[in-house]
């Protein structure tokens, strides 16, 4: 036995131990970095969303006429500005950007607060306050644009936050102990909204409802029947034999059979559908295919979507808004009753723009709320309703619509389109008491018009 073996073994053991320790340290550091990075990402994206909310709320506050609506908008502005500011405070940003942004957010919050006080004392928003709101709105637009640029960078290459983190590592002697998440989110009200098709965001809260109104009193259907119902919904191509199979169950809000429809060879792609056990209605349908170059224009696609619904027993429907994604267009179609647009009864139809085939359908909102309604008679005229709108607006339209308010209530309102500068809004004036019920801002995106 040679004498040098023992020190070598000890050395190797020590080396291994150090290696393992180092590797664990490395893993732990990476985990922590990930953790911290995610905290920053969340704070950043939340803040970006809240600044966007501030922008949209400010623009609504410019056009609201009813002081009750105005003060609720101003309250939301204050809240959103405060949220945005505390999220900003969690971000490792340099003072140049953070200081300016933080100051702006404080100002917006304070100003909104003072306006709410003013309104609660019965004082009106006069011309100069309006100008201040307008200038705050313009600043918020700039800030939002800037943040969106950063957001784009962050999602395109995550290097941004990585670099930020390595900077922090160099600057910090110890791990930051300030990772506690501030608990903003424990509010039941949906505070942050994202742009979405009309009456699809805060209003399509169907989760609370339990019984689908449209299926009330219907009988249970068998699996065989469900297959037939599914086949009837497929936008069939000529000369293709479709095969339907029940592949499982879905016990969601509306219990359903899951059906797969197979077009066989060369017939296209498989379509999946949920057919409700009660009433045998299709809840959703999706065909997982890609669409080629558009050969159908939007108007043709819209007619196709409306025709599709008509052929499948949906009564009179009106296409309200649409968005484009990939080479697909998704149309929002609302039910009509006595010429009144029933926004809660919403169906979404997706049309592939390459051949005009209907590849998707979503009816859960419709099934949850559709029924024949006892619509009240409007007690104020369209002209009287128009008088309730901010005179700065160029107003058009004025059709009656039933709009969802909160999760359960519905109100009959006149729907006006208003333009202020280059911005468009929808204004809803209650047809029974003349109150301004709601203002939605129309948001132009490359894919179509969304609302917030």
């Amino acid at each position: 036995m040679k004498k040098w073996i023992i020190p070598v073994v000890i050395g190797l053991l020590a080396l291994t131990a150090v290696g393992v320790w180092g590797y664990n340290q490395q893993l732990a550091r990476r985990d922590l970095e990930n953790y911290l990075g995610n905290k920053y990402r969340r704070a950043f994206f939340d803040m970006a969303g809240q600044v966007q909310n501030v922008e949209v709320l400010l623009s609504k506050s410019l056009v609201a006429a009813d002081p009750r609506l105005e003060s609720s908008l101003l309250n939301d502005i204050r809240l959103q500005a405060n949220f945005a500011q505390s999220n900003l405070g969690q971000l490792p940003l340099n003072d140049a950007l953070a200081g300016r942004t933080s100051k702006f957010l404080t100002q917006v919050g304070d100003y909104a607060d003072s306006m709410v006080r003013q309104i609660s004392q019965g004082q009106a928003i006069d011309g100069s306050s309006w100008d201040t709101l307008n200038s705050l709105y313009q600043q918020s637009t700039d800030l939002n644009r800037e943040l969106q640029g950063m957001q784009y960078q962050v999602t395109q290459n995550n290097l941004y936050f990585g670099e930020l983190l390595s900077q922090i590592r160099n600057n910090l002697q110890k791990q930051p102990d300030n990772l506690a998440v501030t608990n903003f989110q424990a509010m039941d009200k949906q505070m942050q909204q994202y742009p979405t098709l009309i009456y699809d965001g805060p209003f399509s809260e169907h989760l609370e409802k339990t019984e689908p109104a449209a299926l009330d009193g219907e009988g249970e259907v068998s699996a065989e029947e469900a297959k037939n119902r599914a086949l009837a919904y497929i936008d069939k191509r000529a000369g293709v034999q479709y095969q339907a199979t029940v592949t499982g169950d879905a016990n969601g809000r509306i219990p359903a059979y899951r059906v797969e429809v197979n077009p066989g060879q060369e017939g296209g792609d498989t379509t999946q559908l949920d057919v409700s056990r009660v009433g045998g209605q299709v809840i959703w349908m999706l065909q997982g295919r890609k669409a080629g170059q558009p050969a159908v224009d939007i108007e043709q696609a819209r007619q196709k979507a409306l025709g599709f619904l008509k052929d499948r027993g949906f009564g009179e429907m009106r296409s309200t808004y649409h968005i484009l994604h990939g080479n697909f267009a998704t149309f929002n179609c609302a039910a009509l009753q006595d010429e009144v647009t029933i926004y809660p009864d919403l169906v979404k139809v997706t049309v592939a723009l390459d051949n005009g085939e209907v590849t998707g359908l979503e009816t859960s909102g419709y099934l949850m709320s559709h029924r024949k309604r006892d619509l009240p008679k409007p007690s104020i005229s369209q002209e009287q309703a128009r008088a309730a709108i901010n005179p700065r607006f160029e107003v058009s339209g004025g059709k009656l619509a039933l709009i969802p308010v909160g999760t359960r209530e519905e109100r009959l309102a006149y729907e006006f389109q208003g333009k202020l500068g280059q911005e468009s809004y929808l204004i809803y004036v209650n047809a029974l008491n003349g109150r301004e019920e709601n203002i939605l801002k129309l948001i132009d995106t490359p894919g179509g018009t969304l609302t917030m």
């Binding site: 966007q52 942050q192 969601g252 911005e423």
Partner: protein, 274 residues
């Protein structure tokens, strides 16, 4: 003053001025016929002419001044007691919104409206004269601005939410079918509407321990177009999960707690539950 009166005054003034010479001649003859008085008249003729001219000028001036004041009044006066019409209705409407006016929106400016206007004016630091003038209209937000106000074009988009959602879909369900991807997106969208979760896409995604691919950083890689399309479909409202709030891979070890949730369905390698 009445519109007709002003018109009468104006036209009378002009008529007198126009016919003055003709009339003068006729009167001169009459004066000559009337003898002695005629001489006085004749002597006074120049001064009478001046009187007549100045009378005409006076009538015209009165008419013009009245007209001017009327227009000025129309600009500042707005509506006051005794008026009726659409403008009164808007004022009543606005006052009732603020809670100053509780009467009916009948479009007649009566005592109740008067009191309401005065209260409004007092509260807003305007002279409480009960007349809805420019300042009051402005305070009520009823004055239309002379020029269209310059309002910036907004910068709101849905890009942030779409790309974030696509990233998680890529991280959690890159091997799933399109349907499976939409389903994962729908769970996140459903969570934003649930009282038990944060109400923002970013809040849900970056919640601690919510998504493994976010915790371990695997989600941060280039996304495929299918993931982006699935994210758009989920945000457009497609929900193949029937309202699910949870999903997990049943072939991997997960906490036993999650199996206690009520399972809705399975799509690909994911179980979806409420």
């Amino acid at each position: 003053m009445d519109d007709h009166l002003i018109t009468c005054l104006l036209s009378a003034g002009f008529l007198f001025l126009g016919r003055l010479h003709k009339k003068w001649i006729t009167r001169k003859n009459i004066n000559i016929l009337s003898g002695g008085w005629g001489i006085i008249f004749k002597e006074c003729s120049v001064s009478k002419r001046i009187i007549l001219y100045s009378f005409c000028a006076l009538v015209l001036a009165v008419a013009v001044v009245t007209l001017y004041y009327r227009q000025a009044a129309a600009q500042t006066q707005g509506v006051s007691w005794g008026n009726s019409g659409d403008e009164v209705t808007s004022v009543q409407n606005r006052l009732s919104q603020w809670g100053y006016y509780t009467g009916s929106l009948d479009g007649y400016y009566g005592y109740d409206t008067y009191r309401a206007v005065q209260n409004f004016q007092r509260n807003n630091g305007i002279d409480p004269n009960g007349i809805v003038g420019d300042a009051t209209l402005d305070a009520m937000g009823l004055s239309s601005p002379a020029a269209a106000p310059s309002v910036a074009r907004g910068a709101a988009t849905d890009q942030g939410d779409v790309s974030l959602l696509a990233q998680v879909i890529e991280g959690e369900a890159s091997n799933e079918s399109y349907l499976g991807k939409v389903a994962v997106g729908a769970v996140i969208a459903n969570r934003t509407k649930s009282a038990s979760f944060p109400h923002t896409i970013s809040g849900v995604i970056f919640q601690d321990f919510a998504f493994e691919s976010i915790s371990n950083g695997q989600a941060y890689r280039p996304v495929t177009s299918e993931s982006v399309e699935a994210a758009q479909a989920a945000l457009a409202g497609y929900d193949p999960t029937g309202g699910a709030l949870f999903f997990w891979n049943p072939y991997k070890p997960v906490s036993s707690w999650i199996w206690s949730r009520s399972i809705i369905t399975q799509i690909g390698n994911h179980v979806f539950a409420r």
